[in-house]
Symmetry: C2
């Protein structure tokens, strides 16, 4: 019996095999990620500083660089059992199509929404606020809030609100209220509209508005879908599940690939593998993939910067293009945040992972190739990871190496059919920002010597 016969195409975990804790990669980092700074005093944000914005338990998690394992609350374990586990899937047809000796596995993304909603409920809050760009995070959070019976106010970047009315309706189906940002419902929104009357918004604006609403409404807190330490902690369940599934069948990945916008997808997938690497127990090649049109890792600065346009949020040390950076208008593939998780930034800075920037037409080519053989129409975001997984598999074809490749797959591409249509019709273009373009964004990065 061949190996391919012994190992199922999809590896499901039994309920008793599922992770019982989240893994905090910071515990194993020699160089800890830089703390969030208070933009007024430039001092590290304390728990008290963060209390008006975030849930208490989440603040603990955000600031805790030491605890390696966080027990997953029973209610969240129960949710995972119902909603999860997502299988670890072997892209067998893709391997055959590429005629590569490489073995390619992928794992679906889970996200931090359910954990953040749980802690908000535990704290007795009425609801939460958040921002969303393309709408995936907003959808996940709406669903989680519906599960825990919490109110959910979503500030959706105006250009997406108008271009993706269906995403908006999905959120409404889950009971969320959705406001296009910038809006007249907040001070910061009104200020931005005054300064830039025709603006179609950005993630940075929407974050500022959502934070203002959380802080000024009793019983509300703000939640964020990426970038933060707490998000990477919850997302570690993706990597933990992948690792348990692989260990079950004695599979060891050689290359681990994730797309990188704010870092939630990549950071979750690599967490336990990075832990082994940090502790010197195993080695893995870890690759972050980002759009060439929003190249935070590959062309950004490692510096303290604002997380939002309104500059109301704490500052984070990260690879950044400057909080004023907005990808070119033809950009369709998501992953458009100007910055990056502080944890991943530090790990990249310390040489524990590499990064690649890819152009969007090549990303959609990979997406279509994957769809046609694997039967899943992927979101453009995770198609960045697919692009590099295919590239690596094709390298193996040349060298004859039988590497095992693991990548993270996010949600559906069904809401991105306008972009797919452009691609099919040959209307999709690429754009790589010039150095001069980037300098404009860099000019907005404050000079903080920390």
């Amino acid at each position: 019996m061949s190996e391919a016969k012994k190992i199922p195409y999809k590896i499901y975990l039994e309920e008793h095999e599922m992770p019982k804790y989240w893994y905090n990669v910071r515990a194993d980092m020699k160089n800890k990620p830089a703390p969030l700074l208070n933009p007024g005093t430039l001092e590290p944000m304390t728990a008290a500083d963060l209390a008006p914005v975030f849930c208490e338990e989440l603040i603990k998690q955000e600031l805790d660089n030491d605890t390696r394992e966080y027990p997953i609350p029973q209610a969240i374990q129960d949710f995972y059992k119902m909603y999860r586990p997502s299988p670890l899937v072997r892209a067998y047809c893709l391997e055959q199509k590429l005629q590569t000796p490489a073995k390619i596995y992928y794992k679906f993304k889970l996200n931090s929404a359910i954990a953040q909603a749980y802690y908000a409920k535990q704290q007795g809050l009425k609801g939460v606020t958040t921002e969303t760009g393309a709408g995936q995070w907003g959808t996940a959070l709406s669903m989680a809030c519906s599960y825990f019976d919490l109110d959910c106010k979503v500030y959706m970047v105006k250009v997406s609100y108008e271009q993706k009315p269906f995403r908006r309706e999905v959120m409404r189906t889950y009971g969320a209220s959705v406001v296009p940002s910038p809006s007249n419902t907040t001070q910061v929104g009104r200020k931005i509209l005054e300064q830039f009357p025709g603006t179609t918004g950005s993630l940075g604006c929407a974050i500022s508005e959502a934070v203002e609403v959380a802080v000024s409404n009793p019983g509300y807190r703000y939640v964020l879908g990426s970038v933060l330490n707490q998000v990477l902690l919850h997302q570690s369940v993706i990597g933990l599940e992948s690792k348990i599934a692989m260990d079950k069948y004695g599979i060891k990945p050689d290359v681990i690939i994730g797309c990188a916008g704010g870092g939630s997808n990549l950071g979750g997938l690599i967490a336990p593998f990075m832990g082994e690497k940090l502790r010197g127990e195993a080695d893995y090649q870890i690759i972050a993939v980002e759009p060439a049109s929003c190249p935070s890792f590959t062309r950004g600065k490692f510096a303290y910067d604002f997380c939002d346009t309104g500059m109301v949020c704490p500052m984070a040390k990260m690879y950044t293009l400057g909080s004023g950076f907005i990808p070119s208008a033809n950009h369709a593939g998501g992953l458009r945040y100007h910055g990056m998780s502080s944890i991943l930034s530090q790990l990249y800075h310390d040489g524990y992972m590499e990064a690649r920037a890819v152009e969007q037409t090549s990303v959609f080519e990979a997406a279509e190739q994957f769809a046609r053989v694997e039967g899943i129409l992927p979101a453009p975001e995770s198609s960045h990871a697919i692009r590099v997984a295919i590239d690596e598999a094709l390298k193996c074809k040349e060298t004859g190496e039988e590497k095992t490749i693991l990548f993270g797959l996010t949600g559906t591409g069904y809401f991105d059919m306008v972009a797919y249509e452009k691609f099919h019709d040959g209307q999709m273009t690429d754009y790589i920002p010039t150095d001069a373009d980037l300098e404009k964004g860099f000019a907005g990065i404050p000079k903080i010597d920390k």
Copy 2:
């Protein structure tokens, strides 16, 4: 340990537990479904008559009323292993929300696409043609053709082609060509356009065009996603998987519910349960749910009728509203075919199942309620089944009966957000055809005394 703890929320089958054969419910029917008739001679269609239209192996399956078990070809079993098995899921949160003692299970739909594409490939064909309404069947077939490297030509009802451009792009992503129907590419299309210049098309038109293209292009055959006996045969894998999963944990459904358009969803889910009922081995309450605006079972005639508008297809004996019937313009919930599977029609006629017609606003209410607690945004089609599952569970709440309810869930509602938006905005209306409306359709049913 309570029962709920012992039985997992999602029951997955191991690969070795998966069905190795399709179940042909006709073998257990005392009154066999009426044969397809040649519209010229009014004699039963022979294999030779059908050869220009369908694949050879599929013709055998279509005409075979006797063989109870059809072995599933290894290539299709392999595909199932990769793409399947879909879990049997307990709607635990919905039960809690309804506070019902009923236990509700649902099973995702698979469809016949992969089997039909497989046999076309086996026969050495170049490609297949088909029609699609909302686009779900067209998408499934495009994917299957892409898997087996077959050309796929889809005739998509014009109103859907224009209202659902994203579905069209999904099919293109899988490599299919998609033509709005009626079109100028066929004789029958040109004829229909001449007669009804402004028509936005119907499934019946699109079938006629797809059949013409298959018959007039060497190396092509026509495939259909519902109604036919072969489709119900392949779809039996849904019911078989459900039954194996339930048997594994000693669960016996009391009520089995499926939505009914042409019958593929319902017929697949109920197959092995109906078999036990036909053989007198067990009893189940089986409920077909259809839209009140397209009530084939509950208000149609049981008669031989045309399957398509162009009257080029064989005639089938079925519950029908007449091949000229088109649901009212406000109808949003799919399931709009004028007829019904001959197998299900015979079984309904013989009293083995019941049927209910439900109005669309109540269907979307059920869909939203399901989404909010189960985290899956369902297609309007299967939301018909959800509506009745909830109704039955609420009856149990009144009576205290702990019935076990099983229903079938089709694909995503992500392409139906225009309808969801109407529902959220209070713009969705209901329409029940008057007797006079129905009489117009009935007038087109030929008088055939068989």
